[in-house]
């Protein structure tokens, strides 16, 4: 008899626990609208000799997780033997109006470094022209100077490195990479 009482009690307890559970998993988290994701890397180059000569290139991926970027504007044509002042912008275009992430990079300038790596064969020299707020100040790279040489084509890799420690303003291998994209550059 006792055996049965025990079994029945146990079964009741089990079923009580079973039915008393909440189901919070049915409410799937919505992406936080205040969180910004970099969807677009934009280069704007202004010819130092002729400020009306402006060119723009954009590397864009509006669905940032699927590996299917829009590269239609990820190219730029520059004049040979010229000097350009270039500014770099990071945008979140999943929102309207687009969020400007460049500001936040600048706010945390001391922990960021932008690196430019022209492919061999591309006659392009890049120097960073802006500085962070470290003491002494170190390069940042949101502003830069492009110097072109003879006619050539090739990729320019632009990378935003997050360097929470160890930043020295030159070493690009430190830290983790927040953005790393390639632009097809034509010097003609």
């Amino acid at each position: 008899m006792k055996k049965y009482i025990a079994i029945v009690t146990a079964a009741l307890l089990v079923s009580t626990i079973w039915t008393s559970c909440r189901k919070p998993e049915e409410d799937v988290d919505i992406p936080d609208p205040d969180n910004e994701v970099i969807t677009t890397v934009r280069l704007e180059a202004v010819n130092a000799a002729d400020t009306t000569d402006k060119v723009t290139a954009e590397w864009r991926d509006l669905t940032p997780n699927d590996g299917n970027p829009d590269l239609s504007k990820a190219n730029m044509t520059l004049k040979k033997d010229a000097v350009y002042n270039v500014s770099l912008t990071f945008l979140d275009e999943t929102k309207t109006p687009a969020g400007d992430i460049t500001e936040e990079v600048r706010d945390r300038a001391n922990y960021h470094l932008v690196c430019y790596a022209p492919a061999t064969g591309l006659n392009l020299g890049v120097v960073r022209t802006d500085k962070d707020n470290n003491t002494p100040q170190m390069e940042l790279g949101l502003q830069s100077k492009f110097t072109t040489g003879a006619v050539s084509t090739g990729n320019l890799q632009v990378a935003l490195h997050h360097q929470p420690s160890g930043k020295n303003g030159t070493d690009c291998s430190i830290g983790s990479t927040d953005a790393e994209v390639n632009f097809a550059i034509t010097v003609q």
Binding site: V14, W18, I30, D32, D34, P164, S165, G166, S176, T177
Partner: protein, 796 residues
């Protein structure tokens, strides 16, 4: 085999059931016990009684007591008197519940309740003060529910030396076990080459449910909650349900105290590397002979940056706080118990291990040492993980008059895991900056009902049913895995037949699992769900042949299964710890394994040796396979992996040996050899442990001045280079083999009759630089260097 605090409750029940008219409790009690024992004795003769209980009796200063009388109260014809060394031996003991008493003139009486399932040893330490309790240490083989599976346990000194370590670290020295690590603070148990969701952990009888799928997700358990840590190697799904493909790690607290009064212990542990300190205290008692037994336990642990032989590992500090409480009450044949434990840890993740993309990862691998020189610090910066785990359990056991018992338990677990990345999110919202990038909350409710049949004519066994439901809620700034709800249930039965030298065992189980996954469409933001169900029968057959008192053979063949985990089904995106782009496959089927194993054990006075040989065939083994095309994201290029399944075979040998080759000297050797092969792809399996050999010598005295049982030991741990690896699956070649030396010395002493244990260990004595294949940090940094560890345990 533990002291089981069954006490006299069954006897009261006995009276209640069979002699209800008699009132004079004491006399009746004695009579009832006598009747019960005679009954037991009669039953024993009918079945095979072929076990041995041996041991030693000492006074509280560890001097052997000569002429102490040991009686097997449950079989009054048996007993022994201790010899000049305080030793005794009782043969032909029947399996099942056994009550042993030990009496010596002028000393307190020792009482031990044991559940005999094999040869056992016991040590009585009697107190000259009759009001003080005798100390009883049972060191038997208490087999877990599937007897024919290979089982190992941390015992005696090994258990003490393991205190303060993480669970993975504590058991990795056992033969057949390894630990898969993410640096010095995160380690997971690996049994026969399998880990994470293929190894089940039972904490106080409850399946540990956390985010077990990742190799950097360590089990959320404070090993101080359990004095007994044992491991069942092999397919154990029949008893424990899904996931027990590699085996089961069991943590069990000591039984609650049976006697009135208070007792407890305090552990204080300090180590030089990481300047880590651990304090753990337990207080327990019983309000009266028929009162409530209780225990309260707490642990606090803090460590700073660990150091390799040449540099500190930046941001490897950790903090941990744990608490547990339990209470038990007996009424007649009914035991009720409640248990609660809380675990909280925060672990810094080594700064040199962050990789935003594959370029970063290769740069980190190429570096001789981490970029940033570090110093010692207890600070934890981003990135870190913060983990909380709560377990609440209620249980009841009813002991029937026929020695059968019905156990019931229900438990609730709440597991919260939060990961904070090194990079802050890009946002203008300050509250978002303090949020974790990834957070999971897994809530599990479970219940189990098990009936253990009484031993009759050599037959014994148990049967039961178990069920659980889980809800997992994912929140995060970056997507990782979807939410889900599961309902799982299973029924099982295991039966054993014991004939003299042979035991046969067979068991079967059926499990069903229903899983619904909730996701949100990224563009329409509509929630949708997908439902999967899995049904699996499992079985086990085994035999134990005790050829002689010393030599036994065990063989088992069993099946186990595991449903694909939610990340294997649905992960889609960058997995930062690997800098890889992972894609789940929602069509994956359940893994099914067939495991066969043979164990040979030899136990003589001077030589104790065990060898396990096993072969585990796993069908539909789930693993990541590289894709031809890397994935281009804005943050760079990532190698792409997709979860897929193949048929694999893991086989190996575990061997251990202890040989008392001279007076006071013992040789200890262990070998762990594992081979994993993908039969479908015709390639070796990744992350299989490299061959490991451990050899040591222990020098042990009986007594030296104030020290009781002082010892000095030196051991060498040698791990070979893993050469059997698949091509193109790893970012770096396996590291070179290594050989390190560890030394320990310690003793037991009594200060004002209170027992104190001390152990001093020097790990990696030569401060050797090495990297271990199973440590994820091998890509970035060396393993930790020399470490001085002092452990003390004070009992009161």
């Amino acid at each position: 085999m533990h002291m089981q605090d069954i006490g006299i409750a069954p006897c009261l029940l006995f009276i209640h059931l069979y002699k209800p008219t008699i009132i004079v409790a004491h006399i009746i009690l004695a009579m009832a016990m006598f009747i019960m024992f005679v009954g037991d004795a009669q039953r024993c003769t009918a079945q095979s009684c072929n076990f041995r209980i041996s041991g030693v009796v000492t006074d509280d200063q560890r001097h052997p007591l000569i002429g102490a009388i040991i009686r097997l109260e449950t079989d009054s014809a048996k007993g022994d008197v201790t010899d000049t060394g305080g030793r005794f031996s009782i043969h032909r003991v029947c399996p099942g519940h056994t009550l042993l008493t030990c009496r010596a003139d002028g000393f307190s009486t020792g009482v031990a309740h044991m559940h005999i399932t094999g040869n056992s040893t016991i040590r009585f330490s009697l107190n000259a003060d009759k009001n003080q309790l005798a100390e009883v240490v049972v060191n038997g083989v208490r087999l877990q529910d599937i007897h024919s599976l290979s089982q190992v346990e941390l015992r005696g000194l090994e258990r003490f030396q393991a205190s303060g370590k993480t669970l993975g670290d504590a058991i990795k020295a056992l033969p057949g076990l390894n630990a898969i690590q993410t640096g010095p603070t995160i380690s997971k148990p690996m049994i026969h080459g399998l880990h994470s969701s293929r190894v089940l952990i039972l904490n106080n009888g409850i399946r540990q449910e956390g985010q077990q799928w990742g190799s950097e997700h360590a089990p959320e358990i404070d090993p101080f909650v359990a004095n007994r840590i044992s491991v069942v190697k092999g397919a154990a799904s029949v008893r424990y349900g899904a996931d027990a493909i590699g085996g089961v790690v069991l943590l069990e607290p000591d039984p609650l105290p049976v006697a009135k009064g208070m007792s407890g212990n305090v552990y204080l542990i300090g180590q030089s590397n990481g300047r880590m300190g651990t304090a753990s205290a337990t207080v327990q008692g019983r309000t009266g002979e028929h009162g409530i037994a209780w225990r309260v336990q707490g642990t606090a642990k803090q460590g700073g940056n660990f150091s390799t032989p040449h540099y500190y590992l930046k941001n490897t500090a950790m903090r941990e706080q744990n608490f547990s409480a339990q209470a038990g009450y007996k009424y007649k044949g009914l035991d009720v118990a409640a248990y609660y434990s809380m675990y909280h840890t925060r672990n810094g993740i080594f700064e040199g291990s962050h990789a935003g993309n594959i370029t970063d990862l290769y740069a980190a691998i190429a570096r001789e040492r981490p970029v940033t020189a570090s110093v010692f610090s207890y600070d934890i910066a981003r990135s870190y993980q913060d983990i909380r785990h709560e377990l609440a359990k209620v249980g009841a056991t009813y002991h029937f008059a026929n020695e059968g018992k019905l156990e019931m338990n229900a438990a609730r677990q709440d597991d919260i895991r939060q990961e904070y990345d090194v990079s802050l999110p890009y946002t203008k919202d300050p509250t978002l900056l303090s949020k974790p990038q990834v957070s999971f909350q897994l809530m599990t409710h479970s219940a189990e009902l098990v009936y253990t049949t009484p031993s009759r004519n050599g037959l014994s066994g148990n049967m039961g049913m178990a069920g659980n439901t889980q809800g997992n809620v994912f929140k995060g700034i970056r997507y990782l895995v979807p939410n889900f709800r599961t309902y799982s249930g299973g029924v099982f039965a295991i039966e054993r037949y014991n004939t003299g030298k042979l035991t046969f065992e067979a068991g079967a189980r059926y499990d069903h699992r229903w899983q619904r996954v909730y996701q949100r469409n990224a563009s329409t933001l509509q929630t949708y769900h997908t439902t999967l169900t899995f049904s699996n029968p499992t079985g086990t057959v085994g035999a134990i042949y005790r050829a002689t008192d010393k030599l036994s053979f065990t063989a088992n063949a069993g099946t186990a299964w595991r449903a694909p985990s939610v990340n294997e089904l649905y992960i889609h995106g960058v997995h930062f710890s690997d800098a890889s782009y992972q894609d789940g496959d929602s069509t994956l089927k359940a893994e099914r394994s067939l495991n066969t194993g043979i164990t040979v054990a030899y136990n003589s006075k001077k030589l104790r040796a065990t060898a396990d040989v096993y072969r585990n065939h796993i069908g539909n083994y789930i693993y990541e396979t590289p894709q031809l095309q890397p994935v281009t994201l804005l943050s760079g290029t990532f190698p792409a992996f997709r979860f897929t399944q193949d048929n694999v075979t893991i086989s190996g040998v575990d061997a251990s040996l202890q040989y008392d080759f001279a007076r006071h000297f013992t040789l200890q050797s262990r070998a762990t050899i594992v081979r994993g092969y993908n039969n479908t792809a015709d390639a070796w399996l990744i992350y299989m442990p490299a061959d490991r050999y451990e050899n040591g010598i222990v020098f042990n005295l009986h007594e030296l001045r104030f020290m009781e049982e002082p010892y000095i030991s030196v051991e060498n741990v040698s791990t070979l280079r893993q050469t059997r690896v698949p091509q193109g699956l790893d970012y770096a070649a396996p590291p070179a083999g290594y050989s390190i030396f560890n030394a320990s010395a310690g003793f037991t002493t009594h200060i004002r009759k209170k027992k104190m244990m001390v152990d001093v260990t020097v790990a990696n004595m030569t401060n050797t630089r090495y990297r271990d294949y199973l440590d994820k940090f091998r890509y970035y940094a060396d393993n930790i260097g020399i470490n001085f560890i002092v452990k003390t345990r004070f009992s009161f």
